[in-house]
Amino acid sequence: MGSLLNKSRPPVFCPGCSHDRITQTLDRAFLNMGLRGEEVVIVTDIGCSGLFDTFFNTHAFHGLHGRALTYATGLKMAQPNLHVIVTMGDGGLGIGGAHVLSACRRNLDLTLLILNNFNFGMTGGQFSATTPSTAQVGSGFLNRLELPFDICRVAASAGAAYVRRCSGYAKNLWQEIENAVRFDGFSILDIWGICPGRYTKRNRLTPQIIEESLAKMPPIKNPVPENQREEYGRHYRNLAAGQKLVSPPKKMTAQFDPIKRKRMNVVILGNAGQRIITAGEILCLAGLATGFQTTQKNEYNITVLRGHSITEVILSPEAIGYTGIDRPDVIMALSQEGVDRRKRLFDSLNNSVLILQAPGVAIPSCKAEILQPNFKSQKIKSTDWALAALIVLAKMNRVIHLEMLKTALKYKFRNNILTSSLDLIERVSTD
């Protein structure tokens, strides 16, 4: 195997930039591992670290600032055998912080090489997430107000399995890179370097100082013992292999004549927790059992078990256009909150409209036919009122009949729930 460096595009870093040495050393690591260009993708961030992919004859993916790890994740999941190397500066660490933390938590087999030179080189030496508070940088006094972070300790506490920091001038840098690439999981190598174009114009930093500073950093045991676990991609594929194939929804065939071959609009006004949406679905299924078209439009709050829950069901022998209901045929008033939400619905009702009014629910005065089934004296829980109202409707042969309802229940429910809902049919009376 030969060098993977791109002969036609030699590195173009500023004279004295440590990125140059890291480029050569990355190639040495590839060479040592015997990797071919087709087996590697270099995913690069923005800034000077974003130039790396162009210097190599490997697959290359250069994207937006801070997002390199997101593309790397998609690529590695799609191509599990590919060696995915991400180069990112200290700038990318800041703007892409959420992605770094997630990569640490996930442990997908990516290698993140952080080209940490303590400032934004390309845009004029502004401060980054790793710039010392004492440094003179292109952001005026602002860096004096913030503390730099140690990405290695952050990564270790976020769950990274492999965390190392080293100097870009280390003699064994190739070995450090190779170890990180070979690690089976997410690995971070925090490589400290010098930006002669910007940072060292106003700050003293030499390979020697880097070496001394690294020696003063709190040590991190690597690989991080408490973070050792299965590699994400393999783990994902193992768990996915155990998931059951999902079949398309069962068909509901037409098996009954409808009560009337005409469109029926039913509005159920209730509360979250009353299984309003489920009742609406059962009503649709009952309609499908006569070969009708059905729509179910729902309205509820994002909270669970609190607030109103409204469903509007249309059963029609014709194709259904508008899915809202301005002129209902049946209103089930099952909770005050539901009724209050749709007061306007009661404005212009005539006596062909049926209202099922549950105990304790007040409705605006109107001309509709009102039935007040006493669910309380029948000892029916409020959570069953929506289904009970459907049963009342079916027992009256309005909109649906009992066989339609039973067919819908058998389609929707299994075992205990089916038994208890069929029992409910026996318990509910229309008065």
Binding site: H59, F61, R67, T70, Y236, N298, I320, G324
Partner: protein, 368 residues
């Protein structure tokens, strides 16, 4: 099933094997359904740490050779923006579902709207065109998703599906066996025997061949302004050629994907124009008008961007007046005014979370 579920099924039929999303009402049930469907098919479904990551995963996976989809709502589309621009400029196929909810901003999570129609078109840096399809009902959610994948693969571009809470979370019966499922389009690999140049365009087309990153041939992808070789370029002639190609590869072909329904009545001087959920109320009005003996014509657009200008001009040719109805305060009507300067253009819009009813449309037709 609901529209969101139908989209997930459509995606699977299209060969989609990668989905990533971040939970957001009213799009979450697409993620939920993909999470059930994909893993048993050796597909991948991920929950991103945010929307930027979700679509970033999709771009990586798409370049890795998988058909990819993500789904969100307005607040998520806002965060997708940088990656939408990337997918446009670097020709990465991806399907992006926007289940629109009432905006602006956080807005109302459980109320519908069509408020993102211009945003989808222009919410990218550089302003190059995108494809936006608009389903009308649950069956459309299934079929338009397949068409969206086909277009994304054919043109190597992001394709949006502009859904709406009122389609996405409304349940409706569908007959999956009765669907006329389009042929599934795959990416075109280069002919054998020549070195692969990542963005080189075949003579007869404006779309580069595709090879995946991770295959036997080295592939370069970059978000920088690039030439055919996939390297950053400053050659203004080459830049100009690429921008022109990115622009016209879609606009010159919109005739081949101008999806629509039209009901033209000879005796009508008015064309009602609608899309998305509002088209259903418009269809009711069309039937009522026809039954009452004063027919109107109706055009339902299912391709919104690039604007199917020829189609709209053709359908509006014999009317004097066009009434545009949409669930916002006037977005697509701007395009109609632009294309049909010599017609009377009336507008009915509403942005309060309620559907526009057939009654409202009938009134607008009568009083315009």
């Amino acid at each position: 099933m609901e529209g969101n579920e139908a989209m997930a099924w459509g995606a699977v039929v299209s060969g989609c094997r990668f989905f990533a999303g971040y939970p957001i009402t009213p799009a979450t049930t697409i993620f939920n359904t993909m999470l059930k469907l994909l893993p048993p098919l050796n597909g991948i479904c991920l929950q991103g740490e945010d929307e930027i990551a979700s679509i970033g995963y999709c771009l990586g996976a798409s370049m890795g050779g998988l058909k990819a989809m993500t789904a969100t709502s307005g607040p998520g589309i806002s965060l997708y923006s940088e990656h939408i621009s990337f997918a446009i400029g670097s020709e990465i196929p991806v399907v992006i579902v926007d289940v629109q909810r009432l905006g602006p901003s956080t807005g109302s999570a459980t109320r519908g709207a069509d408020g993102d129609i211009q945003f989808l078109r222009w919410g990218n840096s550089g302003g190059l065109p995108v494809i936006v399809l608009a389903p009308v009902d649950v069956s459309d959610c299934f079929l338009m998703t397949i068409k969206a994948f086909n277009l994304a693969e054919e043109f190597r571009c992001p394709v949006f599906i502009a859904s709406n809470k009122e389609i996405a979370m409304t349940r409706e019966n569908i007959d999956m066996d009765a669907f006329d499922i389009p042929n599934i389009v795959e990416r075109t690999p280069p002919p054998a025997g020549k070195p692969f140049i990542p963005f080189e365009v075949p003579l007869e087309s404006k779309v580069p061949y595709f090879l995946p990153i991770g295959g036997d041939v080295i592939v370069r992808q970059t978000s920088s302004t690039h030439g055919a070789d996939g390297y950053i370029t400053t050659d203004t002639d080459e830049i100009s050629r690429v921008q022109d190609r990115l622009n016209t590869k879609l606009t010159s072909k919109v005739k081949s994907f101008s999806f629509h329904e039209s009901y033209l009545e000879k005796d009508s001087d008015t064309l009602l124009l609608a899309y998305g959920i509002t088209a259903r109320a418009a269809r009711d009005v069309y039937h009522e008008c026809k039954n009452s003996g004063s027919p109107i014509s109706l055009l339902i657009l299912k391709t919104l961007w690039p604007v199917p200008e020829e189609l709209i001009k053709e359908k509006a040719e014999y009317v004097q007046r066009v009434v545009v109805v949409e669930m916002n305060l006037g977005q697509y009507v701007r395009e109609i005014e632009r294309i049909l300067p010599d017609k009377i253009i009336d507008f009915l819009g509403q942005m309060d979370g309620r559907l526009i009813s057939p009654n409202q449309i009938a009134k607008a037709l009568a009083h315009g």
